[in-house]
């Protein structure tokens, strides 16, 4: 397995929402975090990450705020809104349904 696998279609939203559930993060940190937790398997391309972040923000799932990073440079931090939290629950549920279903098919035959 040479290249990191592409993200399963439609799961990026779930990953982003989950990643910022506990604390606000900026784009870079979100990408890094996903990469780390997935043991370098999931690599989020900038080309997908920023359009996704802006889309989620437009939809009101996440909220953006400019604040300083540890090094004193301003960055755009994304945090979950109340509606986003509910959305995360829905996405999680639908993901678990989907993955269970796929597992059933893959293991069963």
């Amino acid at each position: 397995m040479g290249k990191p696998s592409d993200l399963v279609q439609g799961t990026l939203d779930l990953l982003i929402l989950k990643t910022i559930m506990l604390e606000p993060k900026h784009g870079w940190a979100i990408a890094k975090r996903i990469q780390q937790i997935s043991n370098e398997v999931l690599q989020v391309q900038q080309g997908s990450l920023y359009p996704a972040l802006h889309r989620l923000e437009q939809q009101g799932w996440i909220r953006a705020k400019w604040s300083e990073t540890g090094s004193g440079r301003p960055a755009k931090f994304y945090s979950l809104t109340k509606a986003g939290r509910a959305q995360l629950e829905r996405e999680k549920e639908s993901w678990s349904r989907l993955s269970t279903a796929i597992n059933l098919v893959v293991e069963g035959v």
Partner: protein, 887 residues
Amino acid sequence: MRILTRFRLSILALFRRQAETARLNQELQFHLEKQVAENIARGLSPEEARMAAMRLFGNQSLVRDQARSTWSWNWLENGLRDIRYGVRTLTRSPGFALISILVMALGIGATTSLFTIVRAVLLKPLPFVESDKLVAVYEHFRESTDGDGFNVVSPGDFRDWRQQTHGFQDMAAWRDYGFNLTGARQEFPEVVEAAGGSANLLSLLGVQPVLGRAFAPDEDRPDAIHVVMLTWSLFQRRFSGDASVIGTQIHLDSTAYTVVGVLPDSFTYPDPHIQLWVPYGQTFTPEVYAMHESHMSHVIARLRPGISAATATKQVSAVQYQLHLAYPSKPVAEDAVFRPLIDDLVLDVKTPLIVLLCAVGCMLLIACLNVSNLLVARGASRRKEVAVRGALGGSRLTLICEQMTESLLICVAGGSLGLLLSMLSTHWLAGNWRDLPRAESIHVDGTVLAFSILLVVFAAMLAGLLPAISSTGKGVFAVLQESSRSIGGSAARSTLRKTMLTAEISLTVILLVSAGLLFKSFLHLRTADLGCVTDHVLTIKYGLPEKQYDTREKVIAFHESLMERVRRLPAVRGAALVSTPPGAGWESDDVFTTPGRPSTHFNLQYDALQRTIDPEYFRVMQIPLISGRFFTGQERLTNDHYIIVSKKFASQFFPGDNPIGRRINVAWDRKPEDFEILGVVGDTLYDVTQPVKATMYFPILSGIPDQASGATIVVRTAGDPLALSVPIQQQVAALDPTMPVYDVLTMEQILGKNTASQSFSATLVLAFAGLSLLLAGVGLYGVLSYLVTQRVVEIGIRIALGAQRSEVLRIVLLDGLRPVFIGLLVGLGGGAAAGALIRSILYGTSPFDPLVLVSIVACLLLTAILACAVPAIRASRIEPMQALRME
């Protein structure tokens, strides 16, 4: 909460777009810097770290665009950008822009105007309650070959229909009528067009009088007390809208009528010329009111819910057949037929209107193809630019949108101009179209606006989509691989252009064929031989009211003394009287029998037009005497049982026989009597659009009130005939100051009136066809010039290698003329189909008229050769060295 957030964001995205974009850049920059920092931490040099980060990041502007595309209002931003680009490209070539906009304005404007008229006249429901439930019912003679088989109804038939059938909810009748209107207070006399309507007519249509009341059923009888309803226009014009006119009396043909009501402004049925209404029954004598053979009424019926018009008409037909059997010796029709009331009203204009609408549609299509063609040419010069942008990540959709914007801009500008044009022209069109029914309901409204907006979008799609798709297609990257010294244009692209050109030329040919046929038919009408002199002839109508002129002597005295006075006027070369001059319409006909060949059964074949004339008529109108003699002053008063017949009459009813001295039996004055034929004269046409009809002439000097009291003075003059109209009117007034005259027209005007609508549609279609020809010529020239420019290098090489210039000329000419020939063939096929469709409005012209077809082919080829010659000659003059050096 979420809605609020989204609202705030969309406001931000709309009004603080610049700042938001800067922030987005900042955000992406931050990401990049983080990456660089990480790379340095891994041990790369700052320069390497930066390069690696950039590589990983990919196309930064693409990421930015994609992020931005999630913002709201993105479409607006893109649209504005495209419009900015579009305006910029258009202003770079103002000539192209101006021509395209004008072409589009004409196309869209003309189509909108025609749509406005077609909608108002053909599509809008009539202004009556549930007007789709109204039908017009007519009689139908099985043997009849004249006209369309819809015969007007006799009062006796109508009354029986109404009493004996119950298929329709109700039936009403009306007929045209005319009056000399004089006020009770000696106002200026005038002739008014009037109508007699049955008492239930208004309630059947669902129309309420605005003042007073409608007619009562017991007023709708020949012997009832005279009452009248005024139309709104007469009420305003003659009575200045004074409501106290209700209950007062006005004088119609010297008889007092009480005004009982005023009709609403919107009521202009059957046409706006009608000034007042009297009860239907009062327009008849009791004998005629009961007659089944005197056809003059229009019958309107309202459908009963659940019963179809066909079923109801079948019932009426059954009654009518019984009537037919009951009066075997009289012209009583066998059947009844119906058509929807709206069709009945717009009958004469339906085909011309649809033809015109198709013509402007064709023109719009040609205009779109032309703009499309020009856009393809321009697209060709921008292929490299498009290719580079595509290679740099510009999406195809973006590129197509941008190109579409250009055509949209042209169409929007053209469309607004066209709408303005159409607002101005629609009224002109409606006003100049003589006798256009329902012209008063024509106006530009929301639907029309929506239609023209739709038209603009459609035109923009048509004009822009093809070039846009073709210039951003898959092959576009090949441009980048082409050597900079490309030789010859891409074959596929010139095929596209030639196909469009072929379509354009086919459409033009179809238009030209239709226009040519209409024009030929119109010329045929204008040059039709009426059978009498038509120049320097003035006609003036008058009618003697039967109340004052109630004896034969009084009628003759007026006619004769008026003629004597008129003949004494200077510049009058001859004057005579006739009931209706040639070319002025059917007026009246009668059936007759020939003694010796008695027919107990009524036979439609024995039917001829009837005219009443004075002895001078044929001499004044220069209608030739073929045999026998004219009337003299001797055939007068009761010595009036003589007629003169037309040539057609003689050949039709006395074939191979000398008709002079023979008798026919005809009911001229109420009951059938024998009339002796004194002479045979040349044929005249009653309508230039119709074939010759047998005619019999009765002596006006019999003076029978009613039969001889209406007359048209025909005067041949030395100079301008209209200059005599006032002197003649003065002579009429000198004899009877209460006597108005009307229809003061020269014979040429009568002819023009007959052919006005033909002339109008022929001229319009011809104008559209001419414009289309011009457009096709411009298109051809544009395509060919472009092809030549593309092939300059190739032609240069050919010439350098020794090709003859004449050979080059031939190649380029043929290249340009090939689509013309194909288009011509296709167009002639389409033209034949169009000709068959408009056959019904062509007079004396075959849809395959060779002269028209040949002249159209010649006309088109000439235009095509002219359009091709300039680029071809230019190509043949190319200097090889210059061409090869050219880049």
